[in-house]
């Protein structure tokens, strides 16, 4: 709810513990700040998720308020250019004990890496989401520069990170960096969910295959990963083949999310179906479309239908008998 509605609710219930989410723009941040500072009548208020859109000054004001707030669980900063405020924001979030942080369309670059590293090392930190919305592969990358090794070290040392969302910033354009990143992710003991949605490959078979092999190693080696979201990666059959190969022996992944990955009927029958038959824990996957003919007629393939039935059977705790 908006800051105004939240204030009305708290004023109506001054002696009641209230927990809710709040969305604030810079226009009503001055209204929301007393809430964040937990001034009366907001002393018993817990904010599950607080989402701020605005300008950089509003982020600095928020950081100032956060330093005295101790009951905010999930902070999202959206569409604010965090050129000079990312350090203040992150340090305030750490001092407030916030365990989940999302940074949405803020155009983070390599200068943000030291701050993100500190966030990952804060005690009990659980969720980091970065949606960069880079408009082209020429945009300055987040994962480059002299601070990168220190960031990877901080990530490697995180024992509490459960969810990592790295979306929309051409992760696969530097395969050496992507390989380093995934080598770190493989050994994270608590990582349960990873999303690399919106990181398009350039569509070339070599890049698709290399990206698929990175993801396959993660699937094969991580014992904690349960959800993998790969929407909008354009992995193609070259990238999907190693992923489904790794799925055969995986015993932790419950959900694999793809989006509009076009595959042939032969690939569905020879690669997807055997992997789903052999896998014993996957409960949900989708996003594969079968291109049946040269004029790109898209339809559900019987092999994929059978794969869906296999998964439906596994949800019921049984496996279908396949001749």
């Amino acid at each position: 709810m908006s800051g105004q509605s939240l204030i009305a609710l708290c004023r109506a219930l001054p002696l009641c513990r209230v927990r809710c989410d709040c969305v604030s723009s810079y226009a009503d941040l001055d209204v929301a700040l007393p809430v964040l500072r937990r001034e009366p009548p907001f002393a018993l208020l817990t904010i599950g998720m607080f989402c701020l859109t605005g300008d950089e000054q509003s982020v600095l004001d928020l950081a100032s308020a956060l330093s005295v707030h101790s009951a905010l669980e999930h902070l999202i900063i959206s569409e604010v250019p965090l050129t000079n405020s990312v350090d203040a924001l992150v340090d305030a979030a750490i001092s407030a004990g916030i365990k989940k942080v999302g940074i949405d369309k803020c155009g983070l670059s390599q200068t943000a890496l030291p701050a993100l590293g500190r966030l990952l090392q804060s005690p009990g930190f659980e969720l980091l989401g970065v949606w960069n919305d880079d408009v082209s592969a020429d945009h300055p990358s987040l994962f480059e520069g002299p601070a990168l090794p220190t960031f990877f070290e901080a990530l490697r040392n995180s024992t509490s990170l459960k969810t990592l969302k790295l979306e929309d910033f051409y992760l696969w354009k530097d395969m050496a960096v992507a390989t380093q990143l995934f080598a770190v992710l493989e050994v994270l003991p608590a990582l349960q969910e990873l999303s690399t949605a919106g990181n398009y490959t350039d569509g070339t078979p070599a890049v698709q295959q290399a990206a698929g092999e990175c993801l396959a190693r993660l699937i094969a080696r991580s014992t904690s990963l349960q959800v993998l979201k790969l929407s909008g990666n354009e992995l193609g059959e070259n990238g999907l083949a190693p992923i489904f190969g790794a799925l055969r022996n995986n015993s932790s992944l419950v959900e694999l999310k793809l989006w509009s990955e076009h595959i042939s009927a032969d690939f569905a029958r020879d690669v997807v179906l055997p992997a789903v038959r052999a896998n014993t824990c996957l409960r949900k996957f989708g996003g594969l479309l079968v291109v049946k003919s040269r004029d790109a007629e898209v339809a559900e393939d019987p092999s994929l239908q059978e794969a869906s039935w296999q998964l439906a059977g596994s949800k019921q705790g049984c496996r279908l008998k396949v001749p």
Binding site: S5, L9, C16, R17, R19, C20
Partner: protein
């Protein structure tokens, strides 16, 4: 153990057999306290006896509209959520202790 099919007639038989109406009020309230907020409000329409039991303030001290609250999702919009909160406040009188609105979706800026 013999089971009873869930037809209206059978429910009547089951009600007589189990004797819900003969349960002590405190046990019946314990049962009601496990229901979601929307179900609890609807249950008041079942009978005058249930309605009387459900007017007890102790059943309305915690308003749970979190993401895991089991309230029908179509009621997790601000308009309905505030209506349910208002209904709970009326019955809780001065004993309302907590409100969890974290599962409530806002439409049009709430």
């Amino acid at each position: 153990m013999e089971t009873v099919a869930a037809s209206p007639d059978a429910l009547t038989v089951a009600d007589e057999a189990v004797g819900f109406s003969s349960l002590p009020d405190e046990v019946a309230k314990k049962f009601f306290s496990g229901l979601s907020l929307d179900t609890r409000l609807r249950s008041r329409e079942v009978s005058p006896a249930w309605c009387a039991l459900l007017e007890d303030a102790s059943l309305w001290t915690h308003v749970d509209l979190s993401a895991s609250c089991r309230v029908n999702p179509r009621f997790l919009h601000a308009f309905y959520a505030l209506a349910m909160l208002r209904a709970a406040c009326v019955r809780a009188k001065t004993s309302l202790q907590s409100v969890d609105f974290s599962g409530v979706h806002c439409v049009g800026g709430d």
